[in-house]
């Protein structure tokens, strides 16, 4: 027995040596590089391809957050503020949309539908497609047309369906927000919250187009996760509730939805980390848009770094983006780890 234990320890060391290269790679390429990016963001490597690693202070962050009057009026803080507004609005709309559509489709498909396999495949296939293709297709769909050629794309489709009055200029710089001169807006500004009735707290039409395209790609995936969850709930439980006189609504409200909480958690984590770092979809749908209505921090970082060769500034955006995602991911990983240890 002692010999076996010794052998097991010896083998554990061998095993560890086998995963060691991967662990070192992650240590360098994830954690080392994050630290390196952090340093670049506070370095003097302001412009050009030639690195300069001397310490330069937190100027890049000051520009992003507009900490003084000059920076607050600057393009960096304007673009960054628009990007943060957009990415948070996008994430909330996209999450809500995917959960509502995905859950509803899963509930419908769970009811003995003829051709279930067909519907499931149709709902899910966009998942296999690149965001670049998705973005290009939806950009084509959202081409609004003009007075010369008439409506095109989705607006033309509305016209064919007799809904010609719906013809937004999808490419415009419209931002929907609480009007400052409305009752709500006036009462907000009277208590010093005028910011909430400004375009800084709003959703642009551009972000709505992004949300629809992203939902097209990933709501079917959400459906698949919920369907797997629904199929995992034993029939006895539903029957018992029905015998006790629960209506269908009560059944979902008090039994099924609470039981699907773990699924909802994974959906939120997976979708939110995709949407917070969304980049390729925005590029394919035409980039930041007029007045940055479609801009997101991930795109801003790439443009600033590789378009304008402003490395410290780009690195700072990268760091803020990482912090944004970490707020979501680190608690999730900590909880999962604890649950694993309990098992």
């Amino acid at each position: 027995m002692a010999a076996l234990n010794w052998e097991k320890n010896w083998e554990k060391i061998v095993g560890f040596l086998f995963v060691l290269p991967s662990l070192i790679a992650v240590l360098i390429f994830v954690y080392g590089f994050i630290g390196w990016t952090g340093w670049v963001s506070v370095s003097n490597w302001k412009r050009g391809a030639q690195p300069n690693y001397t310490y330069g202070g937190f100027d890049s962050y000051a520009r992003l957050f507009g900490t003084n009057e000059r920076y607050a009026a600057g393009i960096d803080s304007k673009r960054f503020a628009a990007g943060m507004r957009n990415v948070i609005g996008f994430t909330l709309l996209f999450l809500a949309g995917c959960i509502v559509v995905g859950f509803s489709l899963a509930v419908l498909l769970d009811r003995f539908v003829v051709g279930e396999g067909f519907f499931r495949s149709v709902f899910l296939f966009p998942m296999a497609i690149s965001f670049i293709v998705t973005g290009l297709a939806w950009r084509w769909l959202f081409t609004p047309g003009d007075s010369n050629i008439g409506s095109t794309g989705i607006n033309l489709l509305f016209e064919h369906l007799g809904l010609g009055f719906i013809r937004p200029n999808w490419a415009s710089d419209v931002v929907y927000h609480i009007p400052a001169d409305s009752i709500v807006g006036q009462s907000l500004s009277s208590i010093g919250l005028a910011w909430f009735a400004s375009p800084s707290f709003g959703v642009s039409l551009g972000i709505i187009t992004l949300t629809i395209a992203a939902m097209w790609q990933l709501s079917g995936y959400t459906m698949a996760l919920y369907l797997a969850g629904l199929r995992g709930i034993p029939d006895d439980l539903r029957e018992a509730a029905r015998v006790d006189g629960a209506t269908e609504v009560q059944l979902y409200r008090h039994i099924i939805i609470p039981l699907l909480k773990p699924v909802t958690l994974s959906v939120v984590i997976v979708l939110a980390h995709i949407s917070l770092k969304i980049y390729d979809l925005v590029v394919a749908m035409g980039g930041e848009g007029q007045g940055f209505v479609k801009d997101v921090p991930a795109l801003n970082m790439w443009d600033t770094t590789y378009g304008q060769a402003r490395f410290a500034q780009g690195a700072a955006i990268g760091v803020v983006l990482l912090i944004l995602i970490s707020i979501l991911i680190i608690p999730y990983l900590t909880i999962s780890l604890r649950q694993q240890e309990e098992q």
Binding site: K12, V26, E116, F125, I132, A224, A315, G318, L322
Partner: protein, 301 residues
Amino acid sequence: MTTQAMIPAKSQRRHFKIGRFVIYFILIVFAVFYILPVYLIVLTGLKQYNSNLYAMWDLPPIISFADCTNPYFFCFDGFYAAWFGSQAVIGMGQAFMNSVTMTIPATILSTLLGSLNGYILAKWKFKYADIVFAFVLFGMFIPYQSILIPLILTLRSMGLYASLSGLVFVHVVYSIPIAGLIFRNYYATIPNEIIEASRIDGSNIFTIYRYIILPLSAPAFVVVLIWQFTNIWNDFIFAVTIVQNERMPMTVALNNIAGAFTVPWNVQMAAAFLTALPTLLVYVVLGRYFLRGLLAGSLKG
């Protein structure tokens, strides 16, 4: 369809007659919503540039490829132009070869590495293995914008910048968390008793992997191979940052075609369809494994 057998419908569920019609109506509306963009991509790709925009949703009155000079006929001109490119943009044909050259080795290498890591992390847990793994998993969620600057500098100094081998290397490294996760979750379902029993019979860490784990691994391998293939094929951020020359993969080439205002929209849509085709084929042929991969990759984090 291929996903039919995946989730068996449970019998003895009460039928509700009211609302059956509504259920099918909603499902069909959504099916149309999901199919619509693909319909338009294919339709536009097959049309001619001078065809009427007002008829962009309509099928031609006659389905025929007979005469490309007739704007009412379908035509492969768009696909031809997309595949061979022009002086301004790289053809999708060359980009397709680049994508294949990059995706296949990256997929195979990352899958093999994932199997090895998953095996050790599930069956030969060293001290603090779970905590270490949680730190590895974090790498799966990071925005690549937060590591891009050092990555490019490092690739340059390694001589891997602007090459497909550089892209392969990057995909293998950043796939360590997800590939390890799926294999680890799969191997955790293999009972430890089997391993203990074979240890008593004199097997060691290598022979157990070779004769017990590997023969049981086929489902996990299929899942990870499909997952990796679609993700690496569809990647854009690494590809556009690392390879912008004639070795660029399809997603980058497609984006260039879309960005070049001189490229007609039928060519753009043909190029989009060509880019989507390989992963779509994988999905259609191996869809149920694909779904299994999605569930394994996301339900357990």
